[in-house]
């Protein structure tokens, strides 16, 4: 079964007097356990595609399927439930809730899911150790570096073992060393937990970690490369 399937997706934005085609008949399938990078110049449609896959944005036409379930016609409440239980998100910036500690941020999704406190604590302790943040559990976002904050965001995204993790420019605000560490972490999680990763980026270094690279331009997929095979 496919982790993600997009069929003939179209999305047009109006900017001033112009219609901008953010998605132009995009069809795409990603298998479970895939490690995919969406690459495009700014305005190329990668973030719009990622948002459509994550149920954060609705396409004008076409279909989006996640784990065999069509989601583009779901209600807001059902989409919220889908994001809560099946998808992990890592955004470019402003990833964490400032008034919560690193541990509380990691536990946030589980708490909304209704996971018991002891189970939450057990899982958050393990995942924070896994992402190299042991000892920083009580720090608030303002007391951590950008890299550490992104690690907390990654920990939150994967702690409840979602089938799919969507990351939008996760390394945009990080230095190269921290970017490499974060990508290494993604790869390990992908390999160990068979989690599907879809990463939108225009960073060549990030693309080099992907097993599949999808290049977009003006809302269309112009290239779909299996890098491992290559």
């Amino acid at each position: 079964m496919s982790a993600v399937r997009c069929i003939d997706l179209c999305k047009t934005y109006r900017q001033g007097d112009q219609d901008i085609k953010a998605l132009d008949h995009v069809t795409l399938e990603i298998k479970q356990g895939g490690f995919v990078c969406l690459s495009a110049p700014s305005g190329g449609g990668k973030t719009t595609l990622l948002n459509a896959i994550g149920g954060l944005d609705s396409p004008d036409s076409g279909e989006v399927w996640i784990a065999g379930k069509r989601i583009d016609n779901l209600s807001k409440g059902d989409l919220a439930q889908l994001r809560l239980t099946q998808i992990g998100f890592v955004f470019q910036a402003y990833n964490l809730i400032p008034v919560l500690t690193a541990r509380e941020n990691v536990e946030f999704v589980m708490q909304v899911q209704g996971v018991p406190a002891n189970e939450r604590q057990e899982k958050s302790t393990a995942i924070l150790e896994e992402v190299g943040l042991k000892g920083l559990e009580s720090r608030r976002p303002a007391e951590m570096s950008g890299g550490q904050q992104q690690r907390v965001a990654v920990a939150r995204a994967i702690v409840s073992r979602p089938e799919l993790v969507l990351a939008d420019e996760p390394t945009a605000n990080l230095d190269s060393k921290t970017s490499d560490e974060l990508m290494q972490l993604f790869v390990e999680l992908n390999e160990h937990h068979n989690t599907t990763f879809v990463i939108a980026t225009h960073d060549q270094r990030v693309m080099s970690y992907a097993r599949r690279l999808i290049r977009m331009l003006d809302g269309r997929i112009v290239d779909d490369i299996n890098q491992r095979a290559a």
Binding site: N51, G54, A80, R83, F91, L100, F108, V109, Q111, V112
Partner: protein, 409 residues
């Protein structure tokens, strides 16, 4: 339930995120709640004092008269039961206090002045039980029994008549045959009342002495009954009606003095209006605080929605934040109001403006009255209206589109 735990924690943390703003808002709520409760306690104290003074002047909470007595308070409108029959009936009841009286209009004359007064013949023993004005003798002695030959007059009346304790005065009224009935009395006591007007118009004599003067042995014009709680005298009114035979009028104080009776209702309405007005002034600050709090957290709200938090939880988070703010303000406001009222239990001397106050029946000492009903009303008004005031910013926050909110600069 699980959502409530999450939103409560987030609301509490966010409350102290901008602690200066929160402290300013809590201070505003505290002062508003204090103003609601403290000012209400002052007004309630003043009005209740006016009502109690009015009831003391009636006196009693329930009165029995001949049906025509209120229109024509003359000796011709006697209660059609003998005083002995009344005493027998009321003595068997379990009423807190009662007194039968003879009340007639009269002229009092000293050797220098004459004035129109209300002459009241009382049984001093029974009168104590209804806490009438005449039982508050400040100088001299009280009446000893129903046959006492002296009178008690108000201190102000003594001044007006240019007379004093121990001097004789003449009281003149009409008997049932419309003949002049008069008698000389010695002033044996001077009473004081909160209102000078009451000191000027009431004169108390022994009931039997007055009955003899007027030629109405064993008959009275009025029975006054004291109830357990002056606010609700319906039970006592029914009890007295059951005791009476013949054509009589049994009325609670609210109907005997419509002005006093309506004051209670007017006061309750005024208190509610006052609290709502104070809250409306406060609500501008509250709504502004919440709007700012939401505006500052647009991206954060977008993030929470993107992670799967439902809009209803965002709505709840802002409302809980508002309620927490209100609860802190209420606790402090209630405490401050209590701490302000307790030291003033002995009364506030407003004698500098007492004459003006007396024009509408208030005394020169103001006793604040903190009632549970008023405290509950203030708290409920703040919480309920606060809840509604916070709905608009909370609704706006819950309507954000996650992706638009998260990318907002």
């Amino acid at each position: 339930m699980r959502a409530l735990a999450v939103v409560s924690m987030l609301a509490w943390r966010n409350l102290w995120r901008n602690h200066r703003r929160t402290i300013v808002m809590v201070s505003a709520i505290t002062i508003a709640v204090w103003a609601m409760i403290f000012m209400t306690a002052l007004m309630r104290g003043m009005v209740n004092d006016m009502i109690r003074d009015g009831i003391r002047a009636l006196p009693g909470h329930v009165q029995v008269h001949h049906p025509d007595f209120r229109d024509d308070p003359s000796i011709n409108n006697l209660i059609p039961m003998s005083d002995a029959a009344l005493t027998a009936a009321f003595s068997r009841s379990d009423l807190d206090g009662w007194s039968s009286r003879v009340k007639v209009p009269a002229i009092i004359s000293s050797e220098r002045e004459s004035r129109g007064v209300t002459l009241i013949g009382v049984d001093p023993e029974l009168e104590q039980s209804i806490e009438g004005i005449g039982s508050n003798v400040a100088e001299g002695r009280n009446l000893e029994d129903v046959n006492d030959g002296g009178v008690i007059i108000g201190r102000k009346l003594a001044e007006k008549l240019d007379t004093e304790l121990g001097k004789r005065v003449v009281l003149m009224s009409q008997d049932p045959d419309n003949e002049i009935a008069d008698r000389g009395y010695r002033v044996v006591g001077l009473f004081e009342a909160n209102l000078e007007l009451q000191e000027e118009i009431f004169v108390f004599a022994g009931k039997a002495t007055l009955q003899k003067m007027l030629g109405i042995e064993n008959q009275v014009t009025e029975v006054a009954v004291l109830a357990a709680d002056y606010r609700d005298v319906s039970d006592e009114t029914e009890q007295v009606r059951a005791l009476m035979n013949g054509d009589v009028e049994v009325l609670p104080w609210q109907e005997l003095n419509n002005y006093l009776g309506s004051m209670l209702k007017v006061m309750d309405g005024f208190v509610l209006v006052w609290m709502i007005v104070v809250f409306l002034a406060l609500s501008f600050g509250l709504v502004n605080t919440l709007v700012m709090a939401v505006f500052e957290r647009v991206r954060e709200i977008g993030l929470m929605l993107a992670l799967g938090m439902r809009p209803a939880s965002i709505l709840g988070q802002i409302i809980v934040e508002s309620i927490l703010l209100l609860i802190i303000g209420l606790i402090l406001g209630n405490t401050l109001a209590w701490a302000s009222v307790v030291p003033l239990q002995d009364g506030i001397d407003i004698s500098a403006v007492a004459q003006g106050m007396e024009m509408f029946g208030a005394s020169s000492i103001l006793y604040p009255e903190l009632t549970l009903d008023d405290i509950v009303l203030a708290n409920v008004v703040v919480l309920v209206l606060g809840f509604f005031a916070s709905l608009s910013p909370a609704w706006r926050a819950s309507r954000y589109e996650p992706i638009e909110a998260i990318t907002k600069v």
